[in-house]
């Protein structure tokens, strides 16, 4: 009796097991009706024709709207939508893209829009129109009219926009905010007036846009919970510049953890990774010098990566002792960024200039100011400053988001160095939302942060340092250290309203700002986070590299890089291995 019952239970178990094994397939059958907003899957992507990228998206592809606060899934800007110009941070300067030229005429900016740029529907790849000046004018007016638009503040000084054929004239009220307008030119998408004009205001800003009409080098082919796949656009205008892609498909895979990403890269499941991979320099050099993993980085040796943003030590300057400038100087002199660069990052990052501006903005850094006011690692000087600050051994915390392993290791290192000179600091690792809450509400002592993103001028960097007024909740990513310097903020605003061609005046203004920055130390720049890029050379070759001039392009798919800097040039260089 027992045996019979056990057998029948075993049979039931086997049936359940079989049912469970086929469960993913059942979900596929039902997914069509459940996901009307999703593109259907259209077949497989042959390995030899597909470039697999990862390291940008952390959630599934549900949005391809470049106006969405998140900017849409990887490739929305750059592969689908394109800006008027691109910025080249490696060689400097701007590259004409959807615009062929642009110039200031008094307080007006006159743009010439490229001929022969088609609007192409995804996924059918049908041509549904051609880009005209009207599309560009529509895009600018849309940004002006809706405060939710990501480029609303960039065009806040625009009085009117008019289009005549391929010529667009943008008229400004008073002195234009030259820098913010320049940022618009190489960041904002040119949108199809016919399609976008027919949308509701909500859809214009955050609609999913799963069947985009766009101009870029690829069209959206399919999405799933773990990836979005693009197909090369046969109508792309890039041939005008001699550009085309040598892969037929590009699939961008949702990011996993560091270890998953590393395994995917080493086993050739993905070709191009923009994830931070601890210790990647060891693999690049090959275990025992064998280079067995076939991994490439932008530089073949240290620092391996281009610099992407500045990690700085952010102090809540409204609380004592962080409010005391001598205390901040003591902290700056107590930390040895080089020990973080080599100890924590195994030399895949570079120590920051005391001003903190990225290497592409080197021409704006005044070396005389840096040598006169800059700080460097000097523990005995730190102790002197500490004595001058009146610090009485108060216990302080230094926080980074939980799970950001490189920063976690960095603050252990920093805390040890600060404690060594007598500053009692305890490293803490709150969850990301808690840490964000602390920064927004000013309920923290010290934190590591990197909220200034790469730019073609120092303006946005110093805007993030000095923006005023300070509010109860510092919601926008501005002045989290809550430092008040009216004079510096006025200088930043003046720099923003100075023509980019007036380099003498800009250099003078930025020198003054740098002087105030180094004297007051509202932030303490420590190191440059890398533009993490690792590529697997099994299937594809000719990745971006500093070694060959033809390959010196930005190797990054992140928002603000792809479709703003030269990543599309980099993609066009890639060939079969």
């Amino acid at each position: 009796m027992v045996t019979r019952k056990t057998k029948s239970v075993a049979r039931l178990g086997a049936a359940l097991t079989a049912a469970a094994l086929t469960a993913p397939l059942l979900s596929v059958a039902g997914s069509g009706a459940a996901s009307a907003s999703r593109l259907p899957f259209q077949g497989n992507y042959p390995r030899g024709e597909t470039l697999y990228t990862s390291g940008t998206a952390y959630s599934q592809p549900t949005n391809f709207n470049p106006n969405d606060p998140g900017g849409g899934y990887t490739g929305t800007m750059g592969l689908l939508y394109e800006p008027l110009f691109l910025y080249d941070p490696i060689h400097g300067g701007y590259k004409p893209w959807i615009a062929t030229s642009g110039k200031w005429v008094g307080n007006s900016y006159v743009l010439q829009v490229r001929n022969g740029v088609d609007w192409v529907q995804s996924p059918s790849q049908n041509v549904v129109g051609t880009v005209t000046g009207n599309d560009v004018a529509f895009s600018i007016k849309l940004a002006m009219s809706n405060p939710s638009d990501p480029w609303n503040s960039n065009v806040s000084g625009v009085a009117s926009v008019s289009a005549s054929g391929q010529t667009v004239t943008v008229n400004f009220k008073g002195t234009p905010a030259y820098t913010e307008w320049q940022d618009y030119l190489w960041h904002a998408p040119v949108l199809p007036a016919a399609q976008w004009g027919a949308m509701s205001a909500t859809d214009q800003m955050s609609g999913a846009n799963m069947t985009p009409v766009s101009t870029g080098p690829m069209t959206l082919d399919s999405t799933s919970s773990t990836q979005a796949c693009y197909q090369t656009n046969p109508h792309w205008w890039g041939a005008q510049l001699g550009l085309s892609f040598h892969f037929k498909y590009l699939c961008d895979v949702v990011n996993g953890s560091n270890n998953v990403e590393l395994a995917n890269l080493t086993t050739g499941q993905i070709d191009w990774s923009n994830n931070f991979l601890p210790g990647i320099s060891v693999l690049v050099n090959g275990l025992g010098g064998s280079s067995a993993y076939g991994i490439k980085t932008y530089y073949p040796k240290a620092p391996y990566m281009l610099s992407a943003n500045t990690a700085w030590l952010e102090m809540n300057t409204t609380k004592y002792p962080m409010s005391n400038v001598n205390f901040r100087r003591a902290v700056a002199a107590a930390i040895n960024p080089q020990s973080i660069v080599s100890g924590v990052y195994t030399n895949i990052v570079k120590a920051a200039n005391p001003v903190g501006l990225l290497p592409n903005l080197k021409s704006y850094i005044n070396p005389r100011v840096v040598s006169k006011y800059g700080f460097s690692y000097n523990p005995s000087m730190a102790k002197k400053y500490l004595a001058m600050s009146g610090y009485k051994g108060q216990k302080l915390t230094l926080e980074v988001p939980n799970g950001w392993t490189d920063w976690e290791a960095a603050i252990q290192n920093i805390s040890n160095q600060l404690n060594a000179v007598g500053i009692k600091v305890n490293p803490i690792y709150p969850q990301y939302p808690v840490r964000e809450n602390d920064l927004i509400n000013g309920t923290y002592d010290m934190a590591i942060d990197n909220n200034a993103q790469p730019d073609s001028t120092p303006w946005s960097y110093f805007q993030r340092v000095y923006n005023l007024p300070i509010q109860k909740q510092q919601n926008a990513t501005l002045n989290f250290e809550r430092f008040t310097d009216q004079k510096a903020w006025a200088l930043v605003q003046q720099a923003g309203h100075t023509p980019l061609a007036d380099t003498a005046k800009l250099n003078s203004l930025y020198s003054q700002i740098e002087t105030r920055f180094l004297q007051d130390l509202p932030e303490i720049p420590l190191w440059y986070n890398g533009a993490w890029f690792q590529a697997q050379s099994t299937v594809w070759a000719d990745y971006p590299s500093a070694l060959n001039k033809a390959d010196q392009y930005t190797p990054v798919m992140w928002g603000g890089w792809l479709g703003a800097m030269t990543t599309v040039y980099a993609l066009a260089q890639i060939r079969r291995a």
């Binding site: 097991t17 599934q60 606060p69 499941q269 939302p433 926008a476």
Partner: protein
């Protein structure tokens, strides 16, 4: 009837707790959502904050949000995920098949094999000497450690199996042999990591229970009556399996919660992975939706085990009908 009322009360309380707990987390989900976008304009921030609060329904008082939540539950609508910006039910529906495919076979196979081997080990010294240490090692092995070890050996070094995901990114999810083979290929390592740990637990448990049962008075009595060793062992097994069955029911009940550690290590697109993402990103709606599935799963499992006990254990059947054993 009494049971039904008990289940309804449990459902109401659990659902209320499900709604309440995410709201106790520190921070405002709209602020957390917007903080990811590095917004450098206060005007844009304020405009977005208003729009997003309205669209996610968090701009109304808490009591109103609570009522809205119940309305949603009754309509099987848990809102839009903050993190994935897609309907919660749709995201969960995508993830459930992977979790079921991973955990149901792992739990059932480990249950049957673990119980069998454990029971055999209880009466064979040689087998016991092998099963006991192996069982303890597997049972004590943390999922994460075992999963990383499997990934390193079989994915990175030997390259027999892929290290992550539910299927090959290049293969479209659908009714095709290439997808089925790819899904099975990706399933092996996560399955093994859950199976081995569970197997260790079941086999050790069963071994100990059978040894205990073989030493009970009824077993001795049977033996003294001259019953065959085989018959005694059958009765011992039958009694020993009862606590194991309760354990199985509980394990199956929480199966819809996924196995967070294994799914995170292998980036397996199941519910465990989703829970991890939902918690770390304060995704109220996703978390509430997943917990609803777990609540329903646990209640259903308890209900089924109540019935199963009546069928399997005559003593329960007799007590239910008011008779005494």
């Amino acid at each position: 009837m009494k049971k039904v009322v008990t289940y309804l009360v449990a459902f109401f309380v659990a659902t209320t707790v499900d709604w309440g707990i995410p709201h106790l987390m520190p921070g405002n989900p709209v602020e957390i959502y917007l903080s990811r976008f590095n917004i450098s304009s206060n005007t844009q921030y304020v405009a977005l904050q208003k729009t997003i609060s309205e669209s996610f329904g968090v701009n109304v008082p808490l009591w109103q949000q609570y009522l809205d939540f119940w309305k949603g539950v009754l309509h099987w609508n848990f809102g839009i995920s903050f993190y994935e910006t897609a309907p919660v039910t749709h995201i969960i529906a995508q993830a459930i098949p992977y979790t079921l495919a991973l955990l149901v076979p792992a739990i059932l196979l480990s249950y049957f094999l673990g119980n069998r081997i454990g029971a055999m080990a209880a009466r064979r010294k040689v087998l016991d000497n092998v099963v006991l240490p192996i069982g303890y090692v597997f049972q004590a092995a943390p999922y994460a450690w075992l999963a990383l070890l499997l990934a390193y050996v079989f994915a990175v070094r030997l390259r027999w199996f892929p290290p992550s995901l539910g299927s090959n990114p290049g293969i479209a999810v659908g009714w095709s042999w290439s997808f089925i083979l790819s899904a099975l290929h990706h399933w092996v390592l996560p399955f093994l990591s859950v199976f081995l740990v569970s197997f260790g637990g079941w086999s050790i448990g069963m071994r100990n229970l059978v040894i205990y049962e073989l030493e009970t008075d009824y077993a001795r009595y049977l033996r003294s009556l001259g019953a065959s060793q085989r018959l005694v062992r059958r009765y011992a097994y039958r009694n020993a399996v009862l606590p194991q069955l309760s354990g199985l029911a509980l394990a199956l009940g929480v199966v819809v919660g996924g196995n967070i550690v294994t799914e995170v290590v292998f980036q397996y697109p199941g519910l465990g992975h989703l829970i991890f993402l939902a918690i770390t990103n304060e995704d109220y709606f996703l978390l509430q939706g997943i917990f609803m599935f777990i609540i329903i799963g646990v209640l259903l499992a308890n209900f089924v085990i109540d019935i199963a006990y009546v069928v399997i254990d005559p003593r329960t059947r007799l007590s239910m009908t008011g008779a005494t054993a």
